[in-house]
């Protein structure tokens, strides 16, 4: 049974298909990068799996069951820009939101939930900031708060939407350490990523996406010039470098 399985999934906005006929069987315990040009449908793919965007056709299953029955096994890190950071709240309260799914309606967070939130903040190096106003945080710190919130969900599968976008070097490292740790615990992590330079080093598996699935598999098999050209249409300066580098190796 696969953590995430997509069967001929098509998504359309206003008649135009955004994702076409995607079939995937995501292996367990891997760090998976979802890579493609702008507008390739990377975020849409994640949102479709999470049920945030309706799909036109196809089936999605999480560990063999419908997404709705498996919600507590899923952790989600949305794009940082998707919320208003001037909202009157503290990092600790934001991280606590990760527990809301398990706390249930109408109940208050318990002490154990607060402890868990604090532990998650410590893990991302944000313990000293627990009670600050969230607008005082830097971009990287905001990203780490979101990561801590996802950690609090204590999930088996994590979806992260561009966690590396616009963060400082320290945060980038913190995220990498965290991803490695999650992988070690046997969790499956899917990360939307747009930086080709780092993709090869960061992920075990890669999904190349451009409206449809170009390639999916272990990084060394998938991250080839041919596949990248198919994904990006061969306009990329990065590709030239890679061609040179590979020529050099030979």
């Amino acid at each position: 049974m696969f953590p995430v399985e997509l069967d001929n999934v098509t998504v359309a906005y206003h008649k135009k298909p955004v994702l076409q006929d995607i079939s995937l069987q995501v292996p367990e315990g891997k760090l998976i990068g979802i890579i493609g040009p702008n507008g390739a449908g990377k975020s849409t793919l994640i949102k479709t799996i999470l049920g945030l965007v309706p799909r036109a056709s196809g089936d999605i299953s999480i560990y063999g069951k419908d997404y709705k029955d498996q919600r507590t096994r899923i952790g989600y890190v949305p794009q940082r820009g998707s919320v208003d950071w001037d909202f009157p709240t503290s990092p600790l309260d934001v991280v606590l939101m990760g527990r809301y799914g398990r706390i249930g309606l109408l109940k208050r967070p318990k002490k154990a939930d607060v402890e868990m939130a604090k532990a998650a903040l410590t893990k991302v190096g944000m313990h000293d900031y627990a009670k600050r106003q969230i607008s005082q945080l830097s971009g990287g710190q905001q990203q780490r708060v979101f990561l801590a919130r996802a950690l609090c969900q204590n999930a088996d599968i994590y979806f992260m939407d561009e966690p590396f976008a616009g963060v400082d070097a320290a945060t980038e490292r913190a995220i990498m350490t965290l991803l490695a740790e999650l992988k070690e615990k046997g969790k499956t992590v899917l990360v939307v990523h747009h930086d080709l330079q780092t993709a090869e080093d960061y992920f075990d598996w890669i999904l190349l996406l451009h409206l449809r699935k170009i390639a999916f598999g272990p990084t060394e098999n998938v991250f080839t010039i041919e596949n990248l050209q198919k994904t990006y249409g061969g306009r990329l300066t990065f590709l030239k470098d890679k061609v040179l580098a590979e020529g050099h190796k030979e």
Binding site: Y76, P88, Y100, A169, A170, T171, R173, A174
Partner: protein
């Protein structure tokens, strides 16, 4: 004046009106906080305006003036208006703000037509309907107040019960959906509560001004706190106080409408908060900026003096500093005077200063810190680690290896500050011990 106010307060009718405006101010302040944070202030305005045809239709159907029916009609029309605002952008290319503009004016226009129709049709008993335009608190009777109080109490209770969920869907809707929280239901419930808060204010404040009663207490509260709980409590209090203040003012000034006076009271509280609130207020911001500017200029001037000293030029003038740092002459002079008071420089004659041993010491540390920061930024990718990620750069908080690496980099670039003359003063200094 106070005596007549006191007399008025004895009057049961005044007491009822007072209780009504207090409750309604509180409820609209609390719900208004959510409206503001959801960036739906304009939707609140549209809700209030679109309630008018509802009130008129309720009168046409029932043929009598009764607040419960009016509120029901207003609530239904308000919800319909809100629904249209959400529907129009989905069905067409119209943006939400345009949709709000369309719905607000169309519903309000229909309301005015119905109102005119009713007034032309009927006898004296109908004429009270136009008080819904600007509100008329004096027309509130006991039953009305009980109804308003009941609705306010239910609104406040539901806000407490669903506080956790309302906060979550307001802050991060997508995440809430992902958690499997019944977002649709909660969104609908919150919209209903907001409509109710608008509707109970209509008779007192009127459709045109009601949005202000929703929004102003909430913005006022935002200035004083960084927590949602705090904001909601302060907004509730601000709303209640404005309600009471408006009522009291209108009792003392004959013939003045309560609604507009409530709004004015709330606005005064808002203006006061905008200027005087600690941290977020304009005054506090201006003071902070001034202090920062002064501190930075002092630091820059000290650095300029220290650089001069490194080149064995001890004589400091406004011109010599301004050659190195672009500062306005007055700011530069102010910084020099500050430094003189700190005994970092001493005045030799008018307009000419000389660096002191204390100044050398301080300049050394400032220069070292600044240059370390420069090098740190140049090599951030290599040096960055999570511990050093602070709000400001402090070399003493860096791990030892990072600090030593920075020192060697400084030497490599020839940017290591020298401490020739100051050495005997600085032996106790922390950084000196590192060598």
């Amino acid at each position: 004046m106070f005596e007549s106010l006191w007399l008025q307060l004895q009057h049961p009718n005044t007491q009822w009106v007072l209780a009504g405006t207090l409750l309604l101010g509180t409820a609209s302040g609390v719900l208004g906080s959510f409206v503001l944070l959801r960036k739906q202030s304009l939707i609140g305005d549209a809700m209030a305006h679109s309630a008018l045809p509802g009130v008129c239709l309720a009168f046409l159907f029932t043929g009598q003036k009764s607040l419960p029916f009016f509120l029901l009609g207003a609530a239904l029309a308000g919800l319909l208006g809100t629904f249209c605002i959400q529907l129009i952008p989905r069905l067409s290319k119209t943006k939400e703000d345009s949709a709000i503009g369309i719905v607000l004016s169309v519903f309000f226009g229909v309301g005015i037509i119905l109102l005119t129709y009713i007034q032309q049709q009927g006898a004296g008993s109908q004429s009270g309907l136009d008080s819904f335009l600007f509100g008329q608190a004096a027309s509130l009777v006991r039953q009305d107040i009980i109804l308003i109080a009941g609705i306010s109490a239910v609104l406040l209770l539901l806000c407490i019960v669903f506080f956790k969920e309302f906060t979550l869907i307001t802050f991060d809707l997508a995440f809430a959906k992902g958690l499997g929280i019944p977002v649709r239901f909660l969104n609908g419930l919150l919209a209903c509560l907001i409509v109710c808060a608008v509707v109970i204010g209509l008779q007192t404040v009127g459709v045109i001004l009601m949005a202000a009663m929703l929004i102003t207490p909430a913005i006022t509260a935002r200035y004083w706190t960084e927590r949602l709980t705090g904001m909601i409590i302060i907004a509730g209090i601000t709303g209640g106080v404005s309600g009471v203040a408006g009522t009291l003012l209108s009792t003392t000034m004959k013939g003045m409408a309560t609604g507009p006076l409530m709004i004015l009271s709330a606005t005064l509280l808002f203006l006061f908060s905008m200027i005087c609130a600690p941290k977020r207020g304009l005054a506090a911001k201006a003071i902070r900026l001034m202090r920062l500017r002064r501190r930075t200029s002092r630091e820059q001037v000290l650095l300029a003096i220290y650089e001069q000293y490194e080149k064995n030029n001890l004589c400091v003038t406004v011109e010599s500093v301004r050659k190195k740092r672009r500062l306005s002459p007055s700011l530069c002079l102010k910084a020099l005077n500050d430094l003189e008071q700190e005994r970092c420089i001493e005045r030799i004659e008018n307009g000419i200063w000389q660096i002191t041993s204390k100044g050398i010491e301080k300049g050394y540390h400032t220069a070292l810190k600044q240059r370390m920061y420069e090098v740190y930024l140049m090599h951030e990718m290599e040096l960055a680690n999570i511990e050093s990620d602070q709000d400001y750069f402090d070399p003493d908080r860096l791990p030892r290896e990072t600090r030593e690496r920075l020192y060697s980099l400084l030497k490599l670039y020839g940017r290591m500050p020298e401490r020739r003359k100051a050495s005997h003063d600085a032996e106790k200094g922390q950084i000196a011990n590192e060598f």
